[in-house]
């Protein structure tokens, strides 16, 4: 080695340290980004230019229609006159209809003086959802989440305060009964958890509610479901079905992966039948057929029937998504839980489901988004969701012949709902990803 050194001097000593420098202008910030992402190479440059042209072409067609000074107009005819006065020949939107019929699009035929009720209900809904969606909120708030469905019911439908309270009490009784009997036998406890509330609701609740109502007639004016409409109706159906179908879907998925023969077959049968028939058929079933099965004289609310159908329908999809998550877990997770002596429900709740659901989040939210948009199908059984209202709005002389403005508005509203759900799902995925690595 030393010989090499003596032949050619390779020693080097740095006397002065180099200061830090910025990268050259073309290699930083926006310029770098544009060059790398839009104009790297001939092909990319051509694609960029073509895309820019397409975007321009679409916008120059659409924007003049959208940007239209017509918010204040009272009718379609007024709009047309207004445009003529301005000397515009282009087709333009007449946004006056949205202003004029906003309340109807949002609330349907819900009584005007009670609009505060759905508004407060929306706040209660958001407050109730927050602790569930964002774990950083103190856990105690979950009790409010549990109470919120009953508060929302009372706000939207009204009636004496006692019915929702007693229904909630039924759930509580079931919980207490299950808790008390769990030490005796888990199966007995599970049966009690279902049987106690059902018996309470059907046998004790009606007379007790009557007594309490006559003793203390507190409550809100009753508003029937058929006065609900517009986005109020979509959100009521959509949110109820979303909240109810998740647990039901999970139970179905567990049943489908169960070793118990009957439970397994029942779940497979249910899922395949529900999934194999279009939702619109189930909705017609809900609106027409269900009456035949119910005891004569019972007037089972149509909206409620729709909620049940939509719930069952999306639960079947959720079940399949969750089953995918369950199947994706390595067998070792089940064995790890078993080897520690955890029982079936414990290992499901603590080990298997948290991981399976995490994998299933994109699929679950996808199902929810589909469900929410499918609520517009109720127009075919005569419910006045936003799409249904466009017909009744067009039926008035003022707005006869107006189409696009309403559909654009409805589309944008649905987009806001669905896009938020999609963003939340991404947020959740990223958060869980971070936590577990």
């Amino acid at each position: 080695m030393s010989e090499v050194h003596s032949m050619k001097d390779l020693t080097f000593v740095r006397r002065e340290m180099l200061p830090e420098k910025e990268p050259p202008v073309g290699e930083r910030g926006a310029i770098k980004w544009v060059r790398e992402n839009l104009f790297s190479g001939v092909f990319n440059t051509v694609m960029t230019l073509i895309s820019l042209f397409v975007i321009w072409y679409v916008l120059q067609g659409l924007l003049p229609w959208f940007i239209s000074p017509s918010w204040g107009q009272e009718s379609l005819a007024a709009c047309r006159e207004h445009f003529e006065e301005l000397g515009q020949t282009l087709e333009q939107a007449c946004w006056g209809v949205i202003r004029d019929r906003m309340n109807q699009l949002l609330y349907g035929f819900y009584p005007q003086d009670s609009y505060w009720r759905p508004n407060v209900a929306l706040l209660v809904l958001l407050a109730g959802l927050a602790p569930v969606l964002f774990p950083s909120i103190p856990r105690k708030a979950v009790f409010f989440s549990l109470a919120s469905p009953f508060i929302i019911y009372l706000l939207l439908w009204g009636g004496p305060i006692w019915t929702p309270i007693l229904v909630a009490a039924g759930f509580a009784l079931g919980f207490v009964a299950a808790k008390a009997l769990n030490g005796v036998n888990p199966i007995v406890a599970a049966i009690a958890a279902v049987l106690v509330p059902v018996l309470f609701w059907f046998l004790i609740l009606p007379p007790l509610a009557n007594v309490l109502t006559s003793a203390a007639p507190i409550g809100l004016a009753f508003i029937a479901s058929n006065e609900f409409g517009g986005f109020l109706l979509s959100v009521v159906i959509g949110v109820s079905a979303i909240i109810l179908s998740l647990p039901l879907g999970i139970v179905l998925a567990l049943a489908r992966t169960s070793d118990l023969f009957i439970v397994h077959k029942l779940s497979v049968g249910f899922i395949e039948i529900i999934r194999g028939v279009p939702l619109i058929v189930w909705l017609f079933t809900a609106s027409l057929l269900l009456n035949y099965f119910l005891p004569p004289g019972t007037n089972f609310d149509l909206t409620l029937r729709v909620i049940i159908m939509v719930t069952l329908f999306s639960a079947a999809y959720i079940a399949e998504v969750v089953r995918g998550g369950l199947a994706a877990l390595p067998k070792g997770q089940y064995e790890g839980a078993d080897s520690l002596g955890l029982g079936y429900w414990q290992s499901m709740r603590l080990i298997i489901l948290p991981q399976a659901l995490k994998i299933s989040i994109p699929g679950i939210v996808n199902t929810f988004i589909g469900l929410f948009k499918d609520t517009t199908l109720v127009v075919f059984i005569g419910l006045l969701d936003p799409i249904g209202l466009t017909n009744s709005i067009r039926a008035s002389t003022d707005w006869n012949g107006i189409y696009w403005e309403l559909y654009v508005f409805i589309g944008v509203m649905f987009f806001i709902f669905c896009y938020s759900m999609g963003r939340y799902s991404l947020h959740l995925e990223k958060k869980l990803q971070r936590e577990h690595r």
């Binding site: 070792g332 520690l340 414990q346 080990i351 577990h436 690595r437």
Partner: protein
């Protein structure tokens, strides 16, 4: 390292089939308290299946298995009781990736043994110190090396204060330098008198801690002996062939 004459596990006339495939044939084995048994044998000989039968991860079809005086039957209560007294470490650790190391260790004591959370955490920290990774308690399994994960898995089992520990090739998924740290932990455990059944091909470990080596082939116990005798003076041809294969190079 004393071996008592109290019986920990008693397997008699046990047979197991996977469908029509006869994996375990007429297994008779008595394990005394404090014994360290190493099970070896060629791949597919039924070693894993045998120890998985002991905590009912696999079901046997014939014969009896008694663990600490309780017979394994399809009675769920018995199974859960036995599982909570028998710890098991797997080749791939099977830690729960969505829980921290500490939560992995406290989960079963809290939910199965109904230990108060605080007490469970103290116990968990005690065992994490014992396997020499208390500083990792709040990390997730994915952030640890394989050797550390396996030591957590051992600590997780120990938190249930088991009377028997089963190991199924605990070091075979690890890099050589991590094998030593896991084996050290196991040796320490052996020195404390834990009853251990260990499927492994670490013959150094077998010589050092085992008081019995069992050789299995084709679902049967072919030979069992004290380590010295087993390695130096194997009786059956199958054992000789196997030993020459694993020690031969």
């Amino acid at each position: 390292m004393k071996v008592s004459d109290e019986v920990a596990i008693e397997i008699s006339g046990m047979n197991k089939w996977f469908g029509s495939f006869h994996v375990l044939r007429d297994i008779n084995l008595t394990v005394y308290r404090g014994e360290r048994i190493v099970i070896c044998g060629p791949s597919g000989s039924g070693k894993s299946t045998l120890i998985r039968c002991i905590n009912r991860l696999e079901e046997h079809q014939q014969g009896t298995i008694m663990v600490e005086g309780t017979e394994l039957s399809s009675d769920l209560k018995n199974i859960d009781k036995i599982r909570s007294e028998v710890g098991m470490c797997f080749q791939h650790f099977n830690l729960f990736p969505h829980l921290t190391i500490l939560e992995n260790c406290t989960l079963a004591p809290i939910w199965v043994r109904k230990t108060p959370k605080k007490e469970a955490e103290e116990t968990a920290m005690h065992f994490l110190e014992k396997v020499k990774i208390p500083e990792q308690a709040n990390k997730y399994p994915g952030q640890l090396s394989g050797g550390q994960q396996q030591r957590v898995a051992i600590a997780r089992s120990l938190c249930m204060k088991p009377r028997i520990m089963l190991f199924d090739e605990p070091t075979s998924a690890l890099d050589p330098e991590m094998i030593a740290e896991v084996l050290d932990t196991m040796i320490e455990l052996a020195e404390e008198g834990m009853t251990m059944l260990c499927v492994t091909h670490e013959m150094g470990f077998a010589r050092k801690v085992a008081n019995r080596v069992i050789f299995m082939d084709a679902g049967q116990i072919v030979e069992q002996n004290e380590p010295e005798e087993f390695f130096n003076n194997p009786q059956s041809d199958r054992t000789k062939l196997f030993l020459s294969q694993i020690l031969g190079h």
